[in-house]
């Protein structure tokens, strides 16, 4: 047991180091390649667009990396990526040096378990639920069960937007549970009849029930025409003048074709 673990350690370490070297080698941008990094909410959509772009533009290379909106800002600032992706309501001060282009918008839906009889929340009710002031579903016409708030972790783009739009300065309920992606929030809500959470509108499926917010259903049409207020823009952040091949990719993402793909996948057009 002991000797075996000692034997495998150096091998593991050298593999890990090798992996790091290869990884950093890949992420370094060379020639005509474009690197995007940031928002995990937009990452799957960016990957889809990159795939299409590379299929139609011979010789172009687009690398898409995640890391979160904060990483998007950081890597655009440091030059580690040509384009940083961020899904924030408001860009922080450190992003002042970057030029921001809105490439899509994404709604946030408040979701509960399908068996929950509650169908709508007013803005005040939503704030009370997520800040912990309303602690039982009975108050809202549901069953006599404690409300379990499921949130994203501190720093997440979805979380920051939700904090600003719904909580408006109040603190999140003290006993909230945390999941670290939109998908796992949805699964946690789907498996718990007393849970309430929030996810991208594009990720709502029949395993969860999206609530009306201030009387409006969270549909993409209502987000697009502005009647559903819980939405955030997705930014491409760039620094300084763009190289032609980077500009070409940004133009592609804003083109009707790419915007159509984004709409089809559940996001809202930039314009």
């Amino acid at each position: 047991m002991k000797t075996r673990s000692k034997g495998t350690m150096p091998v593991c370490t050298s593999l890990a180091v090798l992996g790091l070297l290869l990884g950093s080698g890949c992420s370094r941008s060379t020639g005509r390649s474009v690197t995007l990094a940031g928002s995990t909410a937009f990452q799957p959509f960016a990957e889809k667009l990159a795939e299409r772009y590379m299929a139609t533009h011979a010789g172009a290379r687009v690398n898409v990396q995640g890391g979160g909106s904060a990483v998007g800002i950081q890597s655009a600032l440091s030059g580690a990526a040509e384009i940083g992706m961020a899904d924030l309501l408001q860009l922080p001060d450190e992003a002042k040096a970057l030029s921001a282009t809105i490439v899509a918008r994404d709604g946030i839906a408040i979701v509960v378990h399908p068996k929950n009889p509650v169908v709508a929340l007013s803005a005040e009710q939503a704030r009370a639920v997520f800040s912990g002031k309303t602690a039982n579903w009975k108050v809202l016409g549901g069953p006599d069960a404690a409300i379990r708030v499921i949130s994203r972790e501190e720093g997440s783009g979805t979380r920051r937007s939700f904090d600003k739009l719904v909580l408006a300065g109040e603190a999140l309920a003290a006993g909230s549970l945390f999941q670290n992606s939109n998908g796992t929030v949805r699964e946690a809500v789907a498996s718990d009849a007393a849970a309430v959470g929030y996810v991208s509108v594009g990720l709502v499926n029949k395993r969860v029930k999206a609530l009306k917010y201030n009387g409006v259903d969270p549909t993409n049409a209502d987000v697009a025409n502005g009647t559903y207020p819980l939405a955030r823009p997705i930014f491409f952040l760039t620094r300084g003048a763009l190289a032609p091949h980077v500009q070409e990719f940004v133009d592609y993402v804003l083109s009707p074709e790419a915007q159509g793909i984004l709409e089809h996948e559940g996001l809202i057009r930039a314009k």
Partner: protein
């Protein structure tokens, strides 16, 4: 020629230590300034974790790590030690040839699979029958207890088999029953080895991240019962890493510093115990 090979081996031996030193220097460099700025007491014993508001209290995560690990040991150690005694002393040979590889196989299952089982099956079960959010300390402890079994069983079986046969034969010859022999003779003789195995398992439980993130619910307040959700030190780093910049990022490195001492203390105890003879 001989000298060159010796030097090469020396370099190989140094490389793993060098990696450790590099890691230590890096996390201390990143983490210590923020601990100093917010005050060591505030950092270690603060109960509010609101990194964007500049509040970095990691006491809830220290408590979370301790409770989850203690729970895993409370469940895993009796099971593992009992299993080891059965395998080493009582099991027929053909059973050993099935059971031992099966237990070792547990170590090869990726932690995300354990986490997935915990989320899909264990957490709903706990929620339905015991209440609470289901994603809880209890769920995390159960999952970890199974994950540390191979370590505990493996080391324990080795140390039980290392006991001289004469002890057992002598005890039986004096008229002791099987149970008396086990409890009065073999257990004391194997105890230090078993303890070393338990502490190795404990190290694994403290360090496990993926499965714990999935089943513990990751709440940031100090839990009141084992049915409450909690966040461990490792989970805190992994969950927030992607979004952390500036002080927030440093605070995660500082969490790493605390974890570093946690593990070092455990290892020191493990070395002590393994060296001690009864």
């Amino acid at each position: 020629m001989d000298r060159w090979i010796a030097r090469l081996l020396f370099l190989a031996a140094c490389s793993s230590t060098a990696v450790l030193a590099a890691i230590a220097i890096f996390i201390f460099k990143e983490g210590v300034p923020i601990m100093a700025r917010s005050g060591l007491g505030n950092f270690l014993f603060g109960t509010t974790w609101a990194p964007l508001a500049g509040q970095f209290g990691i006491l809830p995560f220290i408590v979370g790590s301790l409770l989850v690990t203690a729970g895993a040991l409370a469940l895993g150690v009796p099971l593992g030690v009992a299993c080891a005694f059965y395998l080493a002393e009582f099991a027929p040979r053909q059973w050993v040839s099935v059971l031992k590889p099966a237990i070792e196989l547990l170590a090869g299952i990726p932690s995300v699979v354990y986490g997935f089982m915990g989320v899909m099956w264990l957490a709903p079960l706990i929620r339905r029958h015991l209440g609470g959010p289901g994603l809880s300390i209890l769920a995390a402890s159960c999952v970890l207890a199974i994950m540390i079994l191979p370590t505990i069983v493996g080391v324990s079986v080795d140390s039980i088999q290392a006991i001289s046969r004469r002890y057992k034969e002598g005890a039986l010859a004096l008229g002791a029953t099987d149970w008396q022999t086990l409890w009065r003779v073999q257990w004391p003789a194997a105890r230090s080895g078993i303890l070393a195995g338990v502490i190795l398992g404990m190290g694994r439980a403290v360090g496990e991240t993926m499965a714990v993130i999935m089943v513990s619910g990751n709440a940031t307040q100090i839990p009141n019962s084992i049915l409450d959700s909690a966040r461990t030190l490792t989970a805190n780093i992994a969950i927030e890493m992607g979004y952390a910049v500036g002080e927030h990022r440093q605070a995660l490195f500082a969490t790493g510093v605390v974890l570093f001492f946690f593990i070092m203390i455990l290892n020191a105890i493990a070395l002590r115990v393994a060296r001690r003879r009864f």
